[in-house]
Symmetry: C2
Subunit: 111 residues, 2 copies
DNA sequence: TGAAATACCTATTAGTTCGAGGTATCTTCG
DNA sequence: CGAAGATACCTCGAACTAATAGGTATTTCA
């Protein structure tokens, strides 16, 4: 991993994409902006991160896509499958566990 | 990264080690158990994770070590340096940002 | 006309966690 | 006494994956 957003990002792109797409179908370019929005600017993922994850999720059956022509441009919309929802559930529970563990650890105040 | 604990672990070992050592000096083997404890079993890191991170933190000046012989065995105690405290502060703020962003994103209920 | 936004995509780099394996000493128990 | 297990250190190789940079093409707006 090369930094930027830095640490603590592993698994985050996948989680966010599944979470957003679980609400409604979206296309890649839209997801890039959407992630900035829903995280309140806290997390920003470039297209170079989004597209590969989208493709890999589709390959493993978590997403399915369909192309739509919109005013000369082509958009690829992604939707979550049953498998994707399962994957999302697992990621959410993993996230909850790690997040909880770190929070607990950080709390034991050093002050 | 090979899984196990799985996703969401990048940067976590470094953060936890610095956080624990900021409270008091400890040695590697002790840290392995300590992390299990302070995270309430949520996170468990093997020696194969701990030692390399410890070494790399020492190399970049975030930690300093001293050996102590304790009943025939040798323990290597690590303490946080000024640089390590700065690094810890940065990691904590990064963590807060990412954690906050993900939480916000996950909340927009899909129900 | 030209710049910026929209929209897609890939290859390379680099950082790092994880598992497995290895040495050696001390303690405990049968 | 001998064996097993805990203590304590360490390294190597594999696997994963985020980030950057670069690339194409169309539409919109000054």
């Amino acid at each position: 991993m090369a930094q930027s957003n830095p640490p603590f990002m592993s698994g985050v792109p996948e989680l966010l994409l599944l979470r957003l797409l679980d609400d409604k179908e979206m296309y890649g370019y839209e997801l890039v902006r959407s992630i900035r929005d829903v995280t309140n600017e806290a997390i920003s993922l470039g297209e170079g991160v989004i597209y590969p994850v989208l493709h890999s999720l589709e390959r493993n059956g978590s997403l399915k896509s369909k192309r739509k022509a919109v005013g000369g441009r082509t958009r690829v919309y992604y939707a979550v499958t049953k498998k994707g929802r399962d994957r999302l559930a697992k990621l959410q529970s993993d996230w909850a566990r790690i997040q909880g563990g770190v929070s607990t650890a950080l709390e034991g105040a050093s002050a």
